[in-house]
Amino acid sequence: MKQIVALVAVVLLAVVLWRLVPLAAPTQLGPVARHYAEWGVAENGGSNLVTSIVVNYRGFDTLGEVTVLFLSVAGAGFVLRRRHGLVVHEPIPASEIVQTGARLLFAPVVLFGAYIFVHGHLTPGGGFQGGAVVASGVLLLLLADRDRHLPHGFLGLLESLSGFSYVLAGLAGLWAAGSFLANRGVLPLGSWNRLLSAGIIPVIYMVIGLKVGSELAALLDVMMHAAGGDGEEAHR
């Protein structure tokens, strides 16, 4: 019975989506999109238009997204508290190849993440992607040695400091150009397609990258060390 209902639901959904296909493909840009496409580069100086939209035109939304991520990580950290005194199954230590490889690759991976978020206004990617790559570097260390001690105080400090800097950058826009998170007039726009261009966008993306990276790294550490459910306690 359940399968039949599911099948009928899938077929209905397919029909509805199929009807929606022509609606979802407009043939010309709307007025807002046309303004972005025509003036986006001239107004913000970034060669990646997506970045200009995410960080400048819709910068306030991005601030909200970062806040949502912070709240979810804080919630996970609250729910998955470390429980001391619980005897869980000891992991088999990783082999020497994995440990050496993790130590070798940690620096290039983190450097690559930094490259992604610093070049957010020039190449695809930006703060979120770069932060995820940085967190993946930390994850590599954790995979090689589960009980590696991460500096949680430092991660928290980095996270709060970067969130604070984001708001500060927005206030700088308010002070210099008259609107929150404004770009023009705060920092020089520079010449097109150079690293030091696009005004305040690279600064904000660096801040987002550091914030996302430290948050995700802390989340992974908390999840790995949370006490297991019944599957693990049964082996006590």
């Binding site: 082999s95 190849i97 994995v98 070798l104």
Partner: protein
Amino acid sequence: MAVNVVIGSVLVALGAAFLFLGALGIVRMPDLYNRMQAGTKATTLGNLLTLVGLGLIEPAWMLKLLLIALFVLMTNPISSHALARGAYRAGVPLTEGSVRDEYREALEEHGEEVPS
């Protein structure tokens, strides 16, 4: 026609052939360890050849493609090694015609736990 394009195209086709052979290997081989043999070595070679061939076709991108190849060369063996070891510890059986199991001998020699 420029000579680098010719050599690059040949390398790309050769690499794709190795990719195909590797994929054929993971379908045809009898157990996980044999599949890994085909699915990691042959495809890594195919991947590297294809990337270098594309770099020869477009010399301006050579540096970035070589960087990709370098990362593949560094990361893929580590994960394959870890996967084989983890699968053995998890008790994935060898195929029936296997003659020798040196890892089990080594584990017994060091007095470590041997999976069933």
